[in-house]
Amino acid sequence: MAGSETSTGYAHPEVLVETDWVADHLHDADIRLIEADEDVLLYELGHIPGAVKLDWHVDVQDKYSRDFIDQQGFEQLMSRWGITNDTTIVLYGDKNNWYACYAFWLFSMYGHARMKVMNGGRAKWEAEHRPMTREVPHYEPTRYKAQPMDESARAFRDEVLLGLKNPGRRLIDVRSPQEYSGELIHMVNYPQEGAQRGGHIPGAKNIPWATAANPDGTFKSAEELRQIYGSNDVTPDKEVVTYCRIGERSAHTWFVLTKLLGYPRVRNYDGSWTEWGNLVRSPIEK
């Protein structure tokens, strides 16, 4: 896949492709485009030809437990989209690829090796007046074999609690400053999802997730990203845990740190504030 890589000094440039690369590979049977949006209506209004829709509310969530679909569920999802273990998945979406990165994080835990994110996402594709369609593609089901979930990219509450006094760990709260300070316990314009307390996990640095994106939705350069995180003492030698409200915004930061900057030990605490803010006697700072 020569020519697929961006040249901005990222640690793993192979995980990013530009819009022109996607345009050149629209008819490549070995590539499956997946649109993952926060705005649930966008795909139906038009999407990149051949792209399937990831509806994060229903496709990747366990129906009963607060957890993700299991290995079998993931295999069924991939099969439904006609994806084989050798397919290259290209994720893209709205709002700086917020949910595209969330999907990348989740899919990587089930071991899908060939994945990329389209830099700039849906907004950049549209801004460049590239083709869109309302035609929903149908693909022949495949026999997909996923790995058991590798949870090394995922942090759980007990681990977060145990690490509070670890001087080598950095917590990044990627929510807005208003959520970090406890003024709000949800994003502006989003529902209050049940957190009983506001504030942040003690010691967490507040680096809002979208800081990593340019106005056009592309990722900032490696140099700019290193400055953003490094100036907050979040460096590659540290163990890093990211969190937000339910773990989706923080998956974006996980992607940036892990794939673009090459930090070796980053985990996303997807329980995030809706779990921590409800835990009896969990320590909180404001």
């Binding site: 705005d39 649930v40 209506l41 209004l45």
Partner: protein, 135 residues
């Protein structure tokens, strides 16, 4: 209405907005927005001498759900009295729009109705003040 039907219902309202525009001599003319969000909706309404809604219009910008919901609300309130509009329930609106779909964006889904209700309430208060002045 299942999830996909709800999506198609909202997409239809978003792409073919009902009553979008402006009306002349509105009794109600109020703008509302979500702080920190790009959703802005202006609701206009005019009532006839019998006290029923004669014409309603809206315009604004924002996310797909806020715009689709504004279109739907403008259909829903046809022929209603101010009191009936004031009594409309946000919860019922969420159900009609497809609760499962809009529950993650309730303030977007209810922005148009909330703005209209506030505007209608102001109109009713002004009417009452006028009547008491006359009395």
């Amino acid at each position: 209405m299942d999830r996909q039907e709800a999506i198609e219902f909202l997409v239809d309202h978003y792409e073919n907005p009902r009553n979008k525009g402006e009306i002349e001599h509105p009794d109600v003319n109020l703008s509302g927005g979500n702080p920190g969000c790009a959703d802005v909706i202006t609701m206009q309404a005019r009532f006839n001498p019998e006290g029923k809604l004669e014409e309603v219009a809206w315009h604004g910008e924002g996310c797909t759900i806020s715009q689709a919901a504004a279109s739907y609300v403008s259909e829903l309130v046809q022929g209603m009295t101010p009191e009936e509009i004031e009594e409309m329930s946000f919860e019922d609106l969420m159900d009609q729009l497809g609760r499962e779909l809009v529950m993650t964006r309730p303030t977007c889904a209810t922005l148009a109705l909330g703005t209209l209700k506030r505007g209608v309430h102001e109109f009713v208060m002004k009417q009452k003040a006028k009547q008491s002045d006359i009395a």
